[in-house]
């Protein structure tokens, strides 16, 4: 019964998105929703490794940027359409996740975290020095003239992003409540004990980093068409990495719903503050919320809610 309820909600949200493109004309709303959905995918992806498995990735922005630049490079060289670009970004970033994981995951967890920081700067330097995709000056991307039956291109990328986000939610939920998910949770709780219980820890950690990388690449792939200008500074922006950590931490990391709730809540708040106050203040607020939540409510909103629920039941 629960399975069908989940899919009903997923389909309902998707249909809701389609209806929105028919009734709303103001492009701002689709821009805002795109930004929130992008952050949602990043948060979900981060949480698959961070929340489920217990390994911190500081280099989310690098996966995102490599996804975006894969798009730029393949669009420029081969003129591939968006769906293929998304698939290519998923493959490239999945492989990067696998590679970094393979090199460092046999060591203590903190080394992986530090390695992801290192990886972000290495890729930023590489792309800054890669003239084909614009180097430090950045690259302009022409948005395609056709956009199916939608009224504008932005509406179409919004629908694409909505599909990707729903797919990410489904993947995350599947991982969380499956046999693999319990293996990952065992790793997070105690890696030595997990291995002794028969959990192939290295393999599961590599699956986890690969899925995380691929999803982040997917989030980045449509980005060039959304903003039409990409440079290394904006694509590797630290704010992307901070959001990817803050949203699951605020929402709650142990449950697949946590990053979704965190992303929708924080993302919406950010849009409101950016429009009404200032974008710097919005960034500062996310940082402060992150620190406050992890010190005072490490289980996040989902954790607080479960606690409240249990107390009421008693």
């Amino acid at each position: 019964m629960k399975i069908s309820a989940f899919w009903v909600v997923v389909v309902a949200i998707f249909v809701g998105g389609l209806v929105l493109t028919e009734v709303v004309d103001n492009e701002y709303y689709f821009t805002a929703l795109y930004v929130i959905l992008q952050a949602t995918i990043m948060a979900i992806a981060w949480n698959i490794l961070g929340g489920f498995t217990g390994y911190v990735n500081f280099g989310s922005a690098a996966f995102f940027a490599v996804g975006a630049y894969t798009s730029i490079a393949l669009n420029k060289s081969l003129g591939l359409p968006l769906p293929l670009l998304i698939a290519a970004a998923a493959i490239v970033c999945g492989l990067i996740g696998l590679g970094v994981g393979y090199l460092t995951l046999r060591l203590k967890g903190v080394y992986f975290a530090i390695a992801t920081l290192a990886m972000a700067i290495v890729f930023e330097t590489l792309i800054t020095n890669w003239a084909y995709v614009g180097g430090a000056r950045g690259a302009y991307i022409l948005t395609p003239e056709t956009f199916l039956w939608f009224k504008s291109y932005i509406q179409m990328v919004f629908i694409v992003m909505l599909m990707l986000a729903l797919t990410a939610v489904a993947i995350s939920r599947m991982l969380n409540s499956s046999r693999i998910g319990r293996g990952l949770a065992a790793i997070r709780d105690d890696e030595v004990a997990a291995e002794c219980a028969g959990v192939p820890t290295l393999r599961l950690k590599l699956i986890s980093t690969t899925v995380m990388g691929a999803l982040m690449g997917v989030a980045g792939a449509p980005y060039p068409f959304f903003v039409t200008f990409v440079d290394p500074v904006s694509a590797f922006n630290l704010f992307i990495a901070v959001n990817a950590i803050a949203m699951p931490m605020i929402g709650g990391t142990a449950h697949w719903l946590g990053p979704v709730i965190g992303a929708l809540l924080v993302g919406t708040t950010q849009e409101i503050i950016t429009v009404n106050v200032s974008s710097e203040l919005n960034i500062l607020l996310v940082g402060i919320m992150l620190v406050l939540f992890i010190t005072l409510a490490p289980q996040g909103i989902v954790g607080l809610w479960l606690k409240y629920w249990r107390r009421r039941k008693k």
């Binding site: 105690d190 004990a193 002794c196 028969g198």
Partner: protein, 241 residues
């Protein structure tokens, strides 16, 4: 005791310049109860780490039911049927007691368990260990004895042929020690061979059919509990010259 489950030959392990184990031979028969004792730093923990795969030995071979497992990672050994409990309990803290058992049932015993029966089998293990009424409690909140029991329950849920029990009784009261001993006897009755590492002599001597004594990384004695008690080398190792 004709069939040998675990055979360890000429095992040596060094850490830098320090030799933790030197040419140790050890075997366990099917369904046998072996006690492994020795003073602190004698190499007991290194020994069980080599058997479970947490450490790789430098020299020597380990065979389990006829298969060479010397270079096999721990999770594959668990799949074959070697289970281990930890001296300091390592529960999966975010899970309930029942979910803790689900992990070994779904992984180590995966090939030998039907998916439909996982929850039933987990409950059966809890029943046997005496943790049934704690099934849905969070494992992080258990008492010390219950944590030790959970360690054993989780090891048992892996459906092992050999259980390595690392000081499951240290720090427990006398009646609690008896409780754990009963559990180990019950496991053994189901055909599981047990290697018991323990400091509490009363428990080792009561439990073991055969006792092996390590001192400074070498095997100094092996025999029935009675023989070991009267062995002058053992006395010297424990009491000094």
């Amino acid at each position: 005791m004709s069939e040998v489950v675990l055979q360890v030959n000429n095992l040596s392990k060094r850490f830098g310049g320090f030799t933790a184990l030197r040419n140790v031979e050890l075997h366990v028969g099917a369904g046998e109860r072996l006690g492994l004792i020795g003073p602190n730093g004698s190499g007991k923990t290194t020994m069980i780490n080599c058997i479970s795969g947490a450490l790789f030995n430098d020299e020597g071979t380990i065979t389990f039911e006829g298969r060479d497992i010397t270079r096999m990672p721990p999770h594959q050994r668990a799949n074959l049927g070697i289970a281990r409990s930890f001296q300091i309990p390592k529960p999966f803290r975010s899970m309930t007691v029942l979910e803790n058992l689900r992990v070994p049932l779904e992984y180590a015993a995966h090939a030998r368990t039907s998916r439909r029966r996982i929850m039933d089998e987990a409950m059966e293990v809890l029943e046997l260990i005496g943790l049934k009424d704690r099934a849905n409690q969070n494992s992080a909140g258990l008492t010390q004895v219950d944590m030790r029991k959970l360690e054993l329950a989780r090891a048992l849920a892996a459906k092992p042929r050999l259980l390595v029990s690392d000081e499951a009784m240290a720090g427990l009261s006398s009646s609690e020690v008896d409780e754990i001993l009963e559990i180990l006897f019950a496991l053994n009755k189901r055909g599981v061979a047990v290697i018991m590492i323990e400091h509490i002599m009363r428990a080792v001597m009561r439990f073991s059919e055969r006792v092996l004594v390590l001192d400074a990384g070498e095997k100094i004695a092996e025999g029935t509990p009675k023989e070991i008690v009267h062995n002058p080398d053992v006395e010297r190792a424990y009491l000094g010259e």
